[in-house]
Symmetry: C2
Subunit: 71 residues, 2 copies
C-alpha cells in the first residue's frame, strides 16, 4: 500500500490525526511538539481548512480504525 | 509525539501522502488499493481540496523528510 501510494503521490508523514481544534489549543500543540521534537529529524505538518465544506473526505476500505485504541 | 497529538486530535491513519493527481489517476489508485487491501482491516482516506488556496499548510520542525527515500 505504501509502494502503491508512492507511485501516485509523495510520502510526507508517518501518522495522521484529524479533528477540530481551536487556535489556542493548536498553538499549545505546536509549542509542545517543538519542545519535544528533534528539529533536524522530526516534523509536524498541519493542514488547515477554514470550512469543512472546502475539504472533501472519502474513505476506501474500513471506515473506522480500531487500531486507534492500541496506540 | 503520537501521544501528544492524540491529546488534541484523533489518530486516523498510518501514513500520509500528498500531491496533485488527476481524477483518472485517483480512480486508478483507489481501484488498485481496493484490490490490495483487506477490506475489514485496511483503509485509505482521501482528502481533496479543489483549490490549493483553500488548504493552509504549515510545517513545524524539519521541512523535508529524507526518510522518504528509504520507504
Amino acid at each position: 500500500m505504501l509502494k502503491l501510494s508512492r507511485q501516485y503521490l509523495n510520502w510526507i508523514q508517518n501518522s495522521v490525526f484529524e479533528g477540530e481544534i481551536t487556535e489556542v489549543k493548536l498553538k499549545e500543540l505546536k509549542q509542545r511538539a517543538k519542545n519535544m521534537m528533534e528539529p533536524e529529524e522530526d516534523s509536524l505538518i498541519i493542514f488547515k481548512s477554514r470550512d469543512v465544506k472546502w475539504l472533501e473526505k472519502e474513505t476506501v476500505g474500513k471506515e473506522k480504525n480500531e487500531l486507534d485504541t492500541f496506540l
